[in-house]
């Protein structure tokens, strides 16, 4: 029993991190139909900012997470302004190649500054609680709670505020929206800031749970979060959250039931099968092009 609940907890922790990163992909795709492949590396930058703030400047938890979120949000806005905006009217393929290039640039920039794996010191004291065999650490509780909190706030922003309404309108029709007096560039920048800021928050949480960071850490987790976003239905915010938890669950179950070598193989096969039956993801709606 303790074993099963322990694995359920592992599932929840992994799923929360995937969900928060997947939100960054899905928001950008929602407004611009652009797959921001640099997002995994923005997550990595978040982890490095956490390392600098906590390890070098010895800040406490709240400023650390603020530094990481603000830093990555700025980075996200900068990337949009200088790499994606000039290509907004170019073919989609050019924008995707640019996104890949931005990712490689961020990785190698970090690599040039620090190729070594870095140890992130403990920001909050870790407490382990034991419930008859089930071990719960304070970091796991923090990650799950913070992720759910962030997602609730985002869901509120998108559904209830005027900025959120503008974002949803933007994903509907980017050509007509300026005619209604909506400042498109501001809304796009805001979307990037929120998406990248979520990446930074995920990077901080990840660095706290797994405190050895390196410049390549964003690649694999970025891909997985992207897949989570696709499974949930890319462009759909609740879908990204759902996709994150589904991927976390499938990966954990595959490791539990089978030799751990098969984990990614089984997880991705199941996801491919799912996409055969639901090509737009679980909550995605097919886009129809009117002639």
């Amino acid at each position: 029993m303790a074993y099963i609940s322990q694995q359920l907890l592992n599932m929840l922790q992994l799923g929360s991190i995937y969900a928060v990163i997947a939100l960054g992909y899905t928001m950008v795709y929602g407004v611009l139909s652009l797959i921001n492949f640099a997002h995994g590396d923005i997550f990595m930058v978040g982890a490095f900012l956490c390392f600098i703030a906590a390890g070098k400047l010895h800040m406490p938890f709240v400023p650390v997470i603020l530094v990481a979120v603000a830093g990555t949000a700025l980075l996200g806005v900068g990337v949009e302004r200088f790499a994606y905006r000039p290509l907004r009217d170019a073919p989609k393929v050019s924008a995707i190649i640019t996104a890949l290039g931005v990712g490689v640039f961020i990785e190698n920039f970090t690599l040039a500054l620090s190729p070594y794996p870095r140890h992130v010191p403990e920001i909050l004291p870790v407490v382990n609680w034991n419930f008859s065999g089930l071990t719960v650490s304070s970091i796991q509780v923090l990650i799950v709670a913070l992720s759910i909190g962030l997602m609730v706030v985002l869901d509120f922003i998108v559904r209830k505020t005027s900025y959120g309404m503008a974002m949803r309108a933007l994903s509907w029709d980017i050509k007509t929206l300026p005619l209604m007096g909506v400042p498109v560039n501001t809304i796009v920048a805001l979307t990037f800031a929120i998406g990248a800021g979520f990446g930074g928050a995920a990077g901080t949480m990840y660095a706290m749970a797994f405190p050895v960071i390196d410049p390549y850490m964003g690649i694999m987790i970025g891909w997985k979060a992207f897949i989570a976003a696709v499974v949930g239905g890319i462009g759909n915010i609740r879908g990204a959250m759902l996709g994150g938890y589904i991927l976390g669950a499938v990966e954990t179950l595959a490791t539990v039931a089978l030799p751990s070598t098969y984990r990614d193989f089984v997880a991705f096969t199941l996801l491919l099968i799912l996409l055969v039956f639901r090509p737009n993801g679980i909550l995605g709606v097919p886009k129809t092009i009117k002639v």
Binding site: N10, P115, Y116, F210, P211, V212, D214, M217, T252, T261
Partner: protein, 385 residues
Amino acid sequence: MPRLYGSALILALLLLGCTKADENTIQIGVIAELTGDIPAVGASCKNAAEMAVKAVNTAGGIDIGGKKYTIKLQVEDSAGRAEQAASAAQKLITRDKVIAVIGPNASSGAIPASEIAETSKVPMISPWSTNPKTTIDPRTGKQKSYVFRACYMDSFQGSVLAAFAMGHLKAKRAATLYDVTSEVLKGQAEVFKRTLEEKGGTITGVETYTAGNKDFTVQMTKIKNDNPELIFLPTYYSDVPLQVRQAKMLGIEVPILGSDAWGSHDLLALCGKDCEGYFFSSHFSANSTAPGVKKFVDDYKAIYGSIPDDVAALTYDSFGILFEAMKKSAKPASEDIKNAIQKITGFQGVTGNITFHEGSGDPEKSVVILQIKDGEFKWFADIKP
């Protein structure tokens, strides 16, 4: 006519370029993992190589057949990747015309590079590659004649560790976790499992992951559920701290045993207090009392400000073996050097007494067991074959 002059000029320049790598200089290539997953390994290798070469050059060069030569190093980065290691070996041999290659350190790079050294007939010594395939051609099962290593092999290391686990740590039930993308770590885990089972022990679980993974909680939960007496963790120093920490978070209290992949001083900084008390096998101990070790450690510390690790010591010994062989050669030719390395017996290196046997690139030497104690690597035992 002007075209002819032009060609002549180019030809002259080319000839000038050739003669510039003159007859009094010998080029030696180094392939190190300067970037990639294990940059600390590459840095140590480069440091020790530069130190070894500088010592020879300041002493007036190396004496081969009654003539003094100065040594020039050519360092290439393998980025810890197989294909880049192979292209670095190709570049050093064909463009720089090196007389011998030291490196790559990781087996993943050393195996492809060794193929190139063998076919080009250039001696290669890998300081740190413990996989059998580096010196043995897996297709024919024959020993490669130009490829050597300065360290012992995985099979030996795995069996010594299994014996240590059962004998000293009194653990009969063990679990392992390793990176399935690394051939060397997989080899260590397999030999450990085989030896432990031959000696009457049980392996409760074999868990794996792929490089770049940082979340091992699922695997560790499985391991905990099987209730082993020991965890064998043949994983690289950059992964060890996370695995140990996650094991502790889940309340796993059993001892953890590592392999030579732990042997980087970065481990101490990355691990903090989490790795205290654990054992791992090593090639070298900086606080060993063997002759020559103290001078090597002091010199290294004076130049680079840190204590040399396994890779630094093995690279230093690789150069020691190479220089010893060069001195015994009649002329600076790859063929002569290869023959001389095969005849080395009782070479007193900083990693122990090294002997090569005719027809094998694998040395005979002992395994050092270290313990992490008070934030330092402490010598624990020397286990001879």
